[in-house]
Symmetry: none
Subunit: 217 residues, 2 copies
């Protein structure tokens, strides 16, 4: 089986070297070169057969995104992954628009890196959890704080969920009763039980809860 030929781009020699060692330990990849910036990437691929570029985002002469865009123009078949310290959403989005094949944080483990490389070499995309979390504006469970905004989970019965969804569809209690063949007073009972359980005092409160907990789209 032919090894995937990787070009490393990083302005920190130590990082590049250790990455090269790590990758060369994998038996389906080989690092065929390391360069220090985007310009060198472009000139390297002119004269060498490269399958995948694994690049840092921040580089002195030409950064990873700029490099991606230019590489895409002349060598659309070459895969490009960014390996970076930055988690800024704006930057991640730029990279995605530029057509990046993968985006990872530098704190990943060997195994994950291998998976990521395989996936991208295979024509798929790869984005690490931290990237997705940042885009979703969800605090990274590993990195930070602890409590999240969703609040505790309160168990609702199937019937309650059903009725809540109908309430949110703006049906009146009478209409709900007709729809599911129960008495209007029963609907009101469920309604009150729901509000009491969830600690809200109106249909709006129910809707907010439902939205936060994915009970409705």
């Amino acid at each position: 089986m032919k090894k995937t030929r990787i070009l490393l781009a990083d302005d920190h020699p130590i990082v590049a070297e250790s990455l090269a060692i790590l990758i060369n330990m994998m038996d389906d990849f080989e690092v065929i070169g390391t360069v220090n910036n985007g310009w060198e990437v472009l000139s390297f691929v002119e004269t060498n057969e490269v399958d995948l570029v694994l690049s840092d985002l921040h580089m002195p002469v030409m950064n990873g995104i700029e490099t991606t865009i230019r590489l895409r123009e002349k060598f659309p078949h070459i895969k490009i992954m960014l390996l970076t310290m930055s988690e800024e959403a704006a930057i991640i989005k730029e990279a995605l628009v530029a057509g990046i094949d993968g985006y990872m944080m530098k704190n990943i483990e060997k195994k994950e890196l291998q998976n990521a490389l395989r996936q991208v070499a295979n024509g798929q995309k790869y984005y690490s959890q931290a990237v997705v979390m940042r885009l979703a504006e969800v605090p990274n469970p590993a990195t930070a704080s602890g409590k999240d905004e969703i609040g505790e989970h309160i168990p609702l019965t199937p019937r309650e969920i059903e009725i809540m969804q109908l309430i949110i569809q703006e049906l009146t209690s009478a209409e709900i009763a007709e729809r599911i063949f129960i008495s209007p007073t029963t609907v009101d009972t469920h309604r009150r039980n729901l509000m009491k359980k969830l600690g809200v005092s109106s249909a709006l409160g129910l809707m907010k809860y439902a939205l936060r907990h994915g009970l409705v789209k």
Copy 2:
């Protein structure tokens, strides 16, 4: 090597069946059961050794997110992946908050599914490209149709917007009046004008409009 035991949850039998066949063709996974909704997931895992739940998002009795939350409480070791048609950012975010291990569109290929399953079974997370693209608010090059369901834009006055936001915060007309130093009857007038303008007939309708048009977060 022990196979990873997978439980499928999907309310469409055809989907579940074909998925089961597909997965059973992989030699490191086996489908040990298929169920139709979230409740059945919860009862199934009570009596069976399940390593990974591969679930649809939209299910009649209990949807994928709700299921995730409840499963996390009692069986934190079980991996959960959502396989769905929905690409709505809000839903994806809910799923992430709920602690989902993977999120994929239903249009993926076998190979990608296998990668995803391996990755998650291995303790990592997996998110398909469409998911990340949606979160980044980048139009998916593959899917990208264009128009979305936002509907026409109706001009609201600043005061109306202000009052609508207060309504959505679940303040009563009296409270709103007190807050912004006008008469309760005036608040009611704005309220009615809003509903008439937007063609809705309740505060819930107002909230839905506000959500669709980004007037509230």
